[in-house]
Amino acid sequence: MTDRITQRSKQSLWSRLKRVALTDVGALVRGFKAADIEAMERLLLEADFGIAATTDLVEMLEDGVRRGRLKNEDDIQAAVRTRLTELLSSPDDPGAIRKAAAGPTVILIAGVNGVGKTTSIAKLARRLTRQGEKVLLAAADTYRAGAVAQLETWADRLGLPIVSGAAGGDPAAVAFDALAAAETRGSTVVIIDTAGRLHTQEGLMDELKKVARVIGRKAPGAPHETLLVLDGTVGQNAVQQGKLFAEAVSPTGLIVTKLDGTARGGSVVALRRELALPIRFLGTGEQADDLEVFDAARFAADLLGEG
């Protein structure tokens, strides 16, 4: 699917940016006109940057031009890209999973309904298996119809062991059983799928906290990674999702999915202004191979449509 889609003609954000900002060469000397600024804002807003992040960027450009630091379109392009890269990057290697000091490494996956949690688990499992890990899956979404069967199908395809919960069962108990199974089997990584939940549903957020707590009691230091999955088409609600999941389970990073569509995932820029959550992986399709390790510079270029 990815191949079909990369052939699409996504109008380059940068080319549009350039056109509106630089059609009037004089703008570089006099600074931007109000209409140019609105047009620029538009480009950023339509990529889901949100008002605050957009204003930041536009002000930075205005300032740079006024002070003569940005002299031509290349300067401006570089400035936007650099700024975005700065905003999005984090010191640690996004692709490196934090390992347990002893015993299996536990990865907890959480997020709103339908964002791509289960599929992302299949992707992560394949990646880690290729790195030589012995992965065990835990189907702790005991709520949604067919959720366990979905992860079981993936386990089957990937040839991985799985511990499944019964419909309506306690997800914390499934997680607990999975850790026990991992110990006896000698698995090195356990990835736990959880039911989708809206960040506003307190009861369900408490349930998630309980899963994390039970894991922590069974294996000190676990979960070693808690990854929050965010749908790349989501708008400014990404900020709320990020905040509330952060309060509940302190995620160690984000997986942003569905970036194979037209959405650019610009709302992560808005989210980054609020939270230090590092972006770790990107989902770019429905197959187990459609996972990329996050690269801030490339993501910034994609956001601007340069990629």
């Binding site: 889609i5 119809a145 395809r157 989501v234 609600n237 569905k258 959405a263």
Partner: protein, 444 residues
């Protein structure tokens, strides 16, 4: 839903309210705030601009209505435009004159199609439309299992074929199976797909050509950002969608996608998903939604209606009297009540008042029947009794009850409610109050 958008917008307009005049500056300031609010709510950039232009055009230079505060006048304009932007009428599923009615559910991955199929099946079953489900998502692992489980939960037949890749043939057989099961509505749950995935979109156009569905409903995530426009456009261009269902609206998403999707497709939003349970599907009401956005209730519609029907002078007299020492008497009470009746069913009137939400109305249990009983009781009193309800001793109460054909308990209840209302009115009725009656009509 829309709660956050609501509170922000009413915050912005609050500042405009009570400034005395609807000046161009005030309008511009208000619009700037509204622009910010709409964009933060994920309303598409283009729609936001169009919206502001329309509002500005209508607001500036419009004659100020004396009896309405300027801020409210702007709220009213904003509100009307919002309603228009959301689609003006509430629109049910169109059923075929000759069954079965075939409904395709389409949308992006993870937008909530399968759950929505289950919810719709439940609703259609209650409406005795004999629904049947067809699992046409042959790609996502366990999608058919999910639909089958939901089918069992609502006790509706499900057609699934494992290992089948030819979706068109599968759905055709599904419709046949539905016919054999004597179903009258067929809900086809299709696989999620990106609108730019040409091959997958061709599958849908082939499906449409083969089964001629009566409805093609776009199921869209209510949290979608600016991409909502492109998604809606893509599906609409390929298929000509006939309606929209917005999901996950029980969260705190501001729901601007609703405005964007309707703006692009002009296909009515038929339902909103407000939870994971199968009952959590509600008909979409644009007015209610817009009123909620403004968090003003439909207060201005009420003002408008009231102005059209209530005799202004009478209203003023009542308002004055309500705040006077003596307060309203039962005669005035009856007058006010009659005016309210002119305004339409009581529930509608109450629903328009700010701060009254549907939950409260559920508990309030006001019905027009009840109002008729109240009227009968008041009319059975003498003029003197209406003017001074304290006259109402036991035997008088008995007489009135008999005359009205109601029980004495009901008379007692009315009198005590009236006393309560009198108290409330004295406190609440500040000068300039729009309506001569209290914020809540005594129910039961």
């Amino acid at each position: 839903m829309f709660d956050e958008l609501s509170s922000k917008l009413s915050g912005a307009l609050q500042r405009l309210t009570g400034r005395g005049v609807l000046s161009e500056d005030a309008v511009r300031e208000g619009l700037r705030e509204i622009r910010r609010i709409l964009l933060e709510a994920d309303v598409s950039f283009d729609l936001t601009r169009q919206f502001l232009e329309r509002v500005q055009e209508k607001a500036v230079g419009q004659q100020i209505i004396k009896s309405v505060r300027p801020g409210q006048q702007l709220v009213k304009i904003v509100y009307d435009e919002l309603v228009a932007m959301l689609g003006e009428t509430q629109s049910p599923i169109a059923h075929a004159s000759v069954p079965p009615t075939v409904i395709l559910l389409v949308g992006l991955q993870g937008s909530g199609k399968t759950t929505t199929a289950g919810k719709l099946a439940k609703r259609l079953k209650l409406e005795q439309k004999a629904p049947f489900l067809v699992a046409a998502d042959v790609y996502r692992p366990a999608a058919a299992e999910q639909l089958e489980t939901l089918g069992k939960q609502v006790d509706v037949g499900v057609h699934r074929e494992d290992g089948q890749q030819d979706v068109v043939a599968l759905v055709k057989r599904g419709i046949e199976a539905a016919g054999r099961a004597r179903a009258r509505t067929v809900l086809v749950d299709t696989a999620g797909r990106l609108q730019i995935d040409e091959e997958m979109m061709r599958e849908l156009t082939r499906l449409k050509a083969a089964v001629a569905p009566h409805e093609i409903l776009l199921v869209a995530d209510g949290m979608t950002g600016q991409d909502a426009v492109r998604i809606a456009q893509g599906f609409h261009d390929a298929l000509g969608i006939t309606g929209v269902i917005l999901t996950k609206m029980d969260g705190d998403a501001r729901g601007g996608a609703a405005l964007s999707i309707y703006g692009v497709t002009k296909a009515p939003i038929k339902y909103v998903g407000v939870g994971e349970r199968l009952e959590a599907l509600e008909p979409f009401h644009p007015e209610r939604m817009a009123g909620r956005i403004l968090q003003q209730g439909d207060v201005l519609t009420l003002v408008e209606k009231a102005q059209a029907t209530v005799d202004e002078k009478e209203a003023e007299r009542l308002a004055k009297k309500a705040t006077s020492k003596k307060g309203l008497d039962l005669q005035d009470f009856l007058g006010a009540m009659k005016q309210m009746q002119k305004l339409g069913p009581l529930k509608n009137v109450l629903g328009m008042l700010p701060g009254v939400n549907s939950q409260m109305l559920k508990n309030a249990n006001v019905d027009d029947q009840k109002l008729k009983h109240v009227e009968a009781i008041v009319l059975s009193m003498t003029k003197a009794e209406r003017a001074d309800p304290d006259l109402m001793n036991g035997s008088r109460r008995m007489r009135v009850a008999k005359g009205a054909g109601r029980t004495v308990q009901e008379v007692n209840q009315l009198l005590s409610q009236f006393k309560q209302m009198q108290k409330v009115m004295k406190g609440a009725g500040k000068p300039g109050a729009k309506l001569p009656f209290g914020p809540r009509f005594p129910g039961r």
